[in-house]
Every structure is written in structure tokens, then in C-alpha cells.
């Protein structure tokens, strides 16, 4: 049995405002994006029988909205959770467990309005074997393998900086992006050192915002078309490597990226050269480098030069992170929802920085610090072949 093109994303929306939104709670951002995504799908809450959410419990989201779902997915494995929710929704809908599943995200990452506390348990593996060494959030953990990558492959500081430069070229065309001014490699290297070798402009934003998706069967999407073209779920993957970044098997590659993406590509029946548009979760500038290699778009050690040469920039052969990414568009904390939103916009040909003729888009999410991964291969009706 294959789930290829058995389901579709028929509604997608972000909160009206993203960036600095201190006057909305995290929960209310879930609710607002749910309302907007349902309107986008031409549906109402009465159509929804399944709810998935991360960060905040889907039970809290469903009750806030006033519905009693008969399918609940509280998978919370970091920023890629929402991609994995789509995967689980595809399986559940195909198995007849639900008809219409609402996937919501809302996070007051910057303003911390109604945000759950950030707790560190001193008895957890992280609390025992990482925290005593002065870790303080993602900047002190996520980039820890970059120097190993640099030594192994000769990646230069300039190439690493060029990731931020390329993505600013995209966000300069995106009115909703938080950072829109073009930057140079020199600007990046002159920005404040946060966590060597990562400068400020190589680290993601921290923002407020939310988004939601509506997933249903391909059959329903065909029989009851909504106002927007359906985006078909062609292949999906998920994987987990380690809760401790210090325990990564190989600091120059994400095993979770490889496992998740290879499964998604196989299910979709695609190879890297079939992909028109790519989103790779960029909490820090090295993630797109790892992603390009782990997903097989370039060979080992080639991604830095590939980005530096402009291949992922506007006009390049592989448009990547076309909203500007976590580095320039927005990054609420669990950014994965925004990967999917941009893939959907590109496939519907309604993105601010639209790439011509996108038929197949891949969204690659990460959870934690290379802890987990989720992959979606999404396509138009033509790509789905239905």
C-alpha cells in the first residue's frame, strides 16, 4: 500500500500578523490560524473531525475552538512536528480514522505571551550530560558540529555566511519578512559573534506567529473542490536520531534528515533532480548545507560552494527557502509550519517571491538540535498525476 497522493492540503494560512505580536497569546494564534486555514479551504469547523498540534496540546486547541475531535495527534518532536502531523494525517485519513484534520501552530516565541515555561530538568540526559557545561538554548548546542564539518570538507566562513546572503535575496521580495535589506558576506562576518563560528546573521530570528493546515482525502479534494488548488501529499518521512546533540553519530551529517527524506522521496517516486523548490529548516546557517547534502541534492562537502555560487538564490537552479527562512522571514521556535506554508504557496503560484512553474516542492524539517526530522514531498495535481 502506498499513501502517495492519497491526501491533500486543501487549506493553509498563517496568522494575520507575524513577527512581534505581544497582544496575542500562543493559544489564540493557533485559533486564528485555524480559522483562516478553514476559510482558505472553504470549510468550517463543522467539517473538522481531527486536530493535531504541538507546543500547545491539541486538546486545548480543540476546546478553545469549541469542537470535539475524534482524532488527536499531539506529536511534539520539535519544529518538524507539523510536517509529521501531515504524515500521520495522511495515514489516518487513508485508514478511515478521520476525514478532515486541522493542524495548528502558534507560538509567542519572542513576546512569551501565554507561552509555556521553558523547563530544564537536571535529571534528564540533557540536564546531566550537557547543561553542566554551560549550555543555554539552541545557539550553544545546534552549531556544535560546524567546526568538524569545516575541518572535514573545507567549508569556509565566507561560504557559511553566504547562506544568510542568499536567503536575504529571497526575503527582500517578501513584504511579510522581518528582515528585508540585502546583505553581503562581509556584513554577516562583521555581525556580532554569538557562538563561534556562528555570527548573529547566521542565527535565526525569534518571533511570534502561527499557521494552520487543513488536510483531507484526495477523493474529497476532487469531489468538493475548495477555492484554492489542492496540494497533494506525494511522500512523507519522519525520523529521530538523538535527544542530545553531543551524541550525534557523525557531526557532519544528520542521520534523521537522511532517513526521513529517503523514505519520503521513495514514496513519492522522485529523485532530487525532480524537485522544483526546496525548503530546509534553517535555525542556523549550517542547516541548509546539511540538508542539501543529506537529501542528495549535492555531493558531500559541496553544499557551501553550491550556495555561494547562487544556485539556491533567485534565478538559481534550486530555489531554496524562498520566504527568506528562519534567518530572515520568521522563526517562532517551532518553525516547521512555515516551511509547509511556503511550499503550499509556491505550488499554488501565490508566493510573494514566486518561482515559475513549481510542480514539486520538498519541505525538510528538523526537531530539536538534529534530534528529529520530518519530510514532505508536495505536488500540484499535475505532479500527482491524478
Amino acid at each position: 500500500m502506498t499513501l502517495r497522493a492519497s491526501t491533500a492540503i486543501v487549506g493553509a494560512a498563517e496568522t494575520e500578523r507575524i513577527g512581534v505580536v505581544p497582544d496575542m497569546s500562543a493559544l489564540d494564534m493557533h485559533a486564528q490560524s485555524a480559522r483562516l486555514a478553514l476559510a482558505d479551504a472553504g470549510m468550517t469547523l463543522a467539517d473538522v473531525d481531527g486536530v493535531a498540534a504541538a507546543g500547545i496540546s491539541p486538546i486545548a486547541v480543540a476546546h478553545y475552538l469549541g469542537i470535539t475531535p475524534n482524532y488527536i495527534d499531539a506529536t511534539s518532536i520539535g519544529g518538524c512536528s507539523f510536517l509529521v502531523h501531515v504524515r500521520h494525517a495522511a495515514a489516518a485519513i487513508s485508514a478511515g480514522l478521520a476525514d478532515v484534520i486541522l493542524i495548528t501552530h502558534g507560538e509567542s516565541g519572542r513576546s512569551r505571551t501565554g507561552a509555556p515555561p521553558r523547563a530544564a530538568d537536571p535529571a534528564s540526559p540533557q540536564g546531566q550530560f550537557e547543561a553542566p557545561y554551560g549550555t543555554l538554548g539552541p545557539p550553544t548546542l545546534f552549531p556544535i558540529g560546524v567546526l568538524r564539518y569545516m575541518k572535514r570538507y573545507g567549508l569556509t566562513h565566507e561560504q557559511l555566511a553566504s547562506v544568510a546572503v542568499a536567503q536575504r535575496r529571497w526575503s527582500s521580495r517578501v513584504p511579510r519578512a522581518m528582515f528585508r535589506d540585502l546583505i553581503t558576506v562581509d556584513d554577516v562576518l562583521a555581525s556580532r559573534m554569538v557562538s563561534y563560528p556562528m555570527h548573529l546573521l547566521e542565527c535565526c530570528l525569534v518571533t511570534d506567529g502561527g499557521g494552520a493546515l487543513v488536510v483531507t482525502s484526495a477523493a474529497r479534494a476532487k469531489a468538493v473542490p475548495g477555492p484554492k488548488p489542492a496540494v497533494y501529499v506525494l511522500g512523507t518521512g519522519e525520523a529521530a536520531e538523538t535527544p542530545l546533540v553531543s551524541m550525534m553519530e557523525d557531526f557532519t551529517t544528520s542521520k534523521a534528515f537522511e532517513v526521513s527524506a529517503s523514505r519520503a522521496f521513495a514514496e513519492a517516486g522522485i529523485k532530487a533532480s525532480d524537485v522544483d523548490h526546496l525548503m530546509v529548516y534553517d535555525a542556523f546557517a549550517h542547516l541548509p548545507i546539511y540538508g542539501l547534502e543529506d537529501l542528495g541534492f549535492v555531493g558531500r562537502g559541496e553544499a557551501g560552494a553550491f550556495i555561494e555560487e547562487g544556485n539556491t538564490s533567485p534565478g538559481g537552479t534550486l530555489p531554496m527557502n524562498t520566504n527568506g527562512g528562519g534567518l530572515s522571514y520568521t522563526h517562532t521556535g517551532m518553525y516547521g509550519m512555515f516551511l509547509v506554508q511556503e511550499s503550499v504557496r509556491q505550488l499554488r503560484a501565490e508566493a510573494s517571491a514566486q518561482v515559475p512553474g513549481v510542480q514539486t516542492s520538498v519541505a525538510q524539517g528538523v526537531g530539536g538540535m538534529f534530534m528529529s526530522a520530518g519530510t514532505l514531498v508536495l505536488g500540484t495535481e499535475a505532479a500527482a498525476g491524478i
Binding site: 540526559p125 554551560g134 543555554l136 535565526c204 542530545l244
Partner: protein
């Protein structure tokens, strides 16, 4: 990047809280010994402490005192202090590879934590530093004065 929680120089460094399967590791550290585990079925040494072998799932595991020799595998240098680290910024958060194979997160002591001083694969040896009443393993360049 955002408004970050303001680092507090007042709060102490994070103190690990042992669990039953890690107690022996922390007790050994308080004796200034780096004790890790080895699987008696497949022979593989591993870290962090567990009741079963992550390579073969055997539950026949034993403790032994590691040599304390290691190499600097990778690191970053944080410019934002965690609680208790205010007078040390910038400081390296490192991963070392023990002579016996396993890797672990640590700090590098006995040398200014600069990119010039911290060369990947340099030889290190274990030392110990307090976190509250608990000693934790740290590493210093081999031969540097304790």
C-alpha cells in the same frame, strides 16, 4: 535573534541530578575518576550511562575507569553566559572523543578558549570541576598545568 533571557551571574552553574542508572558515574566523578560502561556481550564501550548496551541491547554491562585521554572532536565558543559562566565568556562547549571510543560534551580548561588555541583533534586529559557539591569531568590540553 531575540531578546534573550538576561544571563545571571548570581545563579550557580547547572548541577546534574543523578538517576539510578547514572549514580555510579557521578559517584566516580566525585572520586576524580571517569567511569564509563562497556558491554560484556559485544565489547563496545558507550556513554551516557544506560542499563543496556545501545549497540546490541544486551543488559550485560559493566563499569570501568577510562584512561581519561581524549581528543577534541568539535566545539563552539559561546559568547552568551549560561548561569554561573558570566566571568568565563567567551567559553567553549566541546565534544571530546575518549580513547575508548565514546564521545561526551565537556568544557576545555587550562587554556584560553580561542579558536587559535583549540585545534580539532588535539590531545586532552580529564580533570574535574565542581558543580555545586558534584564534580564533573572537564578536559585540559595534555601536559598543561593542573
Amino acid at each position: 535573534m531575540s531578546p534573550q533571557p538576561s544571563p545571571s551571574g548570581d545563579r550557580p552553574k547547572a548541577v546534574p541530578r543523578p538517576t539510578p542508572e547514572t549514580q555510579a558515574y557521578w559517584d566516580a566523578a566525585n572520586r576524580r575518576e571517569l567511569a564509563i560502561q562497556r558491554c560484556t556481550s559485544c565489547g563496545k564501550a558507550f556513554f551516557y550511562p544506560r542499563s543496556s548496551c545501545p549497540a546490541c541491547y544486551s543488559q550485560h554491562v559493566e563499569w570501568f575507569v577510562a584512561s581519561g585521554r581524549a581528543r577534541l572532536h568539535t566545539y563552539l565558543i559561546s559568547h552568551r553566559p549560561a548561569p554561573g559562566f558570566a566571568d568565563q565568556v567567551p567559553y567553549a562547549i566541546a565534544v571530546v572523543e575518549l580513547e575508548e571510543g565514546p564521545r561526551m560534551m565537556t568544557n576545555v580548561v587550562g587554556v584560553d578558549n580561542t579558536p587559535e588555541n583549540l585545534v580539532l583533534d588535539m590531545d586532552l586529559e580529564v580533570d574535574f570541576e565542581p558543580r555545586g557539591a558534584q564534580l564533573v569531568p572537564v578536559f585540559r590540553p595534555t601536559g598543561s598545568p593542573a
